[in-house]
């Protein structure tokens, strides 16, 4: 079965999840059947998507772990207490906070409205440009 990028994105957003155990969801998808060469529709389940997402999720987990390993101990103590915050569109993936919680043992929260987090932060920097002038990168 061959499907396009936009369809793939829709599948991930609709039934994608990062951690097994939550309810299994199914979705009807249309694409081209590779054997017949004819457009067909078929059903994918969230378990299949989870399987497909394993590799990228593993690289996320290992990136988090290596960042934590390189964290100075005093900072690490703060992190153990406060945990980590997820932002960006990827944080909307179902159960990604649970996955990271299981893997790192730290408290994990998804930021409120993770998609617009960066631009809201930029906006705040814009409103308080004089006060926050030190945060801009010079190069």
């Amino acid at each position: 079965m061959l499907i396009g990028e936009t369809t793939a994105e829709t599948i991930k957003k609709t039934i994608g999840s990062a951690f097994p155990g939550s309810e299994v969801k199914e979705m009807e998808v249309k694409g081209r059947n590779l054997a017949e060469g004819i457009p067909r529709s078929f059903t994918v389940s969230s378990n299949e998507i989870l399987e497909a997402l394993t590799d990228p999720l593993n690289s996320i987990v290992s990136a988090v772990k290596s960042a934590l390993e390189r964290t100075p101990p005093e900072l690490g103590a703060d992190i153990a207490e406060r945990g980590m915050v997820l932002t960006g569109g990827g944080a909307l993936l179902r159960d990604i906070d649970r996955l990271l919680m299981e893997e790192t043992g730290l408290p994990v929260v998804v930021a409120e409205d993770p998609l617009t987090c960066v631009v809201r932060g930029c906006g705040k920097a814009l409103e308080n440009m004089e006060k926050l002038s030190t945060i801009f990168t010079s190069d």
């Binding site: 061959l2 499907i3 396009g4 990028e5 936009t6 793939a8 991930k12 590779l34 299949e48 998507i49 399987e51 497909a52 997402l53 590799d55 990228p56 690289s59 996320i60 988090v64 960042a67 934590l68 964290t71 100075p72 005093e74 900072l75 690490g76 703060d78 992190i79 406060r82 945990g83 980590m84 915050v85 997820l86 932002t87 960006g88 569109g89 990827g90 944080a91 990271l100 730290l106 930021a111 409120e112 998609l115 617009t116 987090c117 960066v118 631009v119 809201r120 932060g121 930029c122 906006g123 705040k124 920097a125 814009l126 440009m129 926050l132 030190t134 945060i135 801009f136 990168t137 190069d139």
Partner: protein, 195 residues
């Protein structure tokens, strides 16, 4: 003094130029634009002809995978950096034009724009130049994790640590029960004291 006076009249912008989506915040108005970072380009008159921007944003995204042979729909950003400089500049220009009302004599805006934390100087310069090319009077760059931390209301001016995992949109291709997600970006920020 003059700067702040000028700032009073121009509508300053904050832009999150992401791989998947571009968001624009206008001072005093909030988030005014949230569209996919996709551009469709029409090739005019043969392979050596002019390349014209057909659509940007949502309209272009709907064309992804559905374009006729003389139009290509592309994402000019890859992994948060500019893969196609001219197209990105055009896209920024179009987006900025969309959000700024066309007043006569309105001074060009100051723009804050996000760069990924690990990006190189060359990439940063590319982003800065395309914002300048798109009509900014002054461009400030801010590291994405820092912006995200402010957006998530983390205590950036305190000397305590927190971790921030940021994952921007990647690109996937799915075949039945097989899918690949191109390098997801994950960035980390060690909080520093900026008080």
């Amino acid at each position: 003094m003059f700067e702040s006076f000028k700032g009073y009249f121009s509508s300053d912008l904050a832009i999150d130029l992401g791989t998947a989506n571009t968001l624009i915040y206008v001072r005093g108005k909030g988030i005014v634009l949230n569209e996919p970072s996709v551009v469709s380009i029409r090739q005019e008159g043969g392979p050596n002809g002019k390349r014209v921007i057909q659509e940007v944003g949502l309209a272009a995204k709907q064309m992804l995978g559905r374009t006729p042979h003389n139009i290509t729909a592309i994402r000019p950003m890859r992994d948060g950096v500019i893969a196609d400089f001219t197209v990105t500049e055009q896209m920024l220009k179009q987006f900025i034009k969309k959000v700024l009302d066309s007043r006569l004599f309105s001074p060009s805006p100051r723009i804050i724009i996000c760069v990924p934390c690990g990006s190189t100087q060359v990439e940063r310069r590319a982003i800065r130049e395309s914002a300048l090319g798109a009509g900014a009077s002054k461009v400030y760059l801010i590291e994405e994790p820092m912006a995200a931390a402010i957006g998530a209301d983390l205590p950036i001016s305190e000397a305590t640590g927190c971790v921030l995992g940021q994952r921007a949109g990647g690109r996937r291709q799915v075949r039945r029960s097989h899918c690949q997600l191109y390098p997801p970006q994950l960035r980390h920020a060690h909080r520093r004291n900026h008080g």
